[in-house]
Subunit: 255 residues, 2 copies
């Protein structure tokens, strides 16, 4: 980073939980590289549902990626064989050690991180870790799991959110959780709270070739307040982008 | 559970992040089995730092454990090849499906989960998952990483906390994070907030037999407010047990 850090353009540290090859993170890095310098440090492979997990039982490998030297010449790419939080921590210790990022951007996730999903989300794990480092951080998600999801409609809102956070910062200990609906005509953007709801947490029970049966997580999300207009679920189901400000510190007040 | 659930003794679902063989969880199950029925569903091996991670890329195996049939005849033991949150989710779908637990107890962790450690903690991950299921939940930790840590001094406080939560319940969406200091004479118990602080997040850099260097997470916790008497870090450093009520919903108010 030493050569590039001599000017005044902002530095973005980017991570995600779908791995460095995912379409969503490249949509993000391409957009951010028009605004500033971008260092992307992403998992080697998919790390969905990894929350804020960290790797403590084994060492991590940081691997420079040259695959995108032609398509994204202004982005430095690295892969880590760990979790999204590992990526942020190890990046801070190594590739952005000499220059503190101005912002941590995570995603764009293929799939929703609204409502209770935020607590399991690796995408938001990386954003929360940015907050833990004292850096303004935003996690971006699109409510579409498909590998070839269309990120186009949300990109103007992603860029506007990045510009706003760059110029205004965020309150200490707070990051943003932005989710976009799977629609082509986005109505607008709403600041929200997380909707109350739960997963049915069903499991597909399967009999493997040998041994005990195994259980594969499935289930459906049930909103417990579908009509509450101040929630992210309401916003998303009405064509809005939702932004929920999220606290790193979970201490319950006044208990 | 069908046979045992015919009486009115409370049902405890127990998990942890150190794995089913760890001393701490057996201290907990032995104590709880004097109060009620205990079903323990723990990871096969250590899952420290797994936060609220869930396993989505492969199925899980639930294995009945008979190792403790003699030493803990009143406890049903199972192991899951997944994370602490996986254990709670899969238990709810299988072994406690017919009778909803009255309480989820996680731990007792070998090591601190005070301050920011709570967000990375697998022990607290299981407790938060209990909260997500609408069940009163407490995570218990001792600030001593050693395998043969002495849980004796904290056990009266663990039991008192369990009895209080059983009788009074907890506010919706809140679980408790109890940490005990590594001392023989515990002064008392204090309700606290999480101390602000951070990990230095240093890495031990090592050169493996082949390939790129690797990085193993290390570092020290730095309290940013060691003199704040309302924090868990202050309580623990002054010989108290700390209890922090923690919110599952991370929405920042009034942003």
């Amino acid at each position: 980073m030493s050569r590039k850090s001599e000017d005044n353009r902002p530095l973005f540290l980017v991570s995600n939980d779908d791995g460095y090859r995912a379409r969503g993170v490249h949509e993000l890095t391409r957009m951010l590289s028009r605004i500033g310098h971008v260092v992307a440090v992403c998992p080697e492979d998919a790390q969905s549902g990894m929350s804020m997990a960290i790797t403590v039982k084994r060492p991590l490998r940081l691997r420079p990626i040259s695959d995108y030297a032609d398509s994204e010449p202004d982005v430095e790419w690295y892969a880590v064989d760990g979790t999204p939080v590992d990526c942020v921590k190890l990046a801070m210790y190594t590739v952005v050690r000499e220059r503190r990022p101005d912002m941590v951007c995570s995603g764009i996730n293929h799939g929703s991180n609204s409502a209770i999903n935020v607590v399991y989300s690796g995408t938001m794990g990386a954003a929360f870790e940015g907050t833990a480092c004292g850096i303004p951080a935003v996690g971006f998600s699109l409510c579409d799991h498909s590998a070839d999801a269309d990120f186009g409609p949300m990109m103007p809102f992603v860029e506007a959110t990045v510009m706003k956070v760059l110029s205004e910062g965020l309150p200490e200990g707070v990051c943003l959780n932005l989710n976009a609906p799977k629609v082509t005509d986005i109505v607008g953007l709403r600041y929200c709270r997380s909707a109350r709801g739960h997963w049915t947490d069903e499991y597909a029970e399967m009999q493997p070739p040998y041994g005990l049966p195994v259980y594969w997580l499935t289930g459906r999300f049930i909103s417990e307040e579908p009509d509450a207009e101040d929630t992210d679920e309401w916003a998303l189901s009405h064509g809005y982008i939702s932004i929920v400000p999220e606290l790193l510190d979970r201490t319950a007040p006044d208990i």
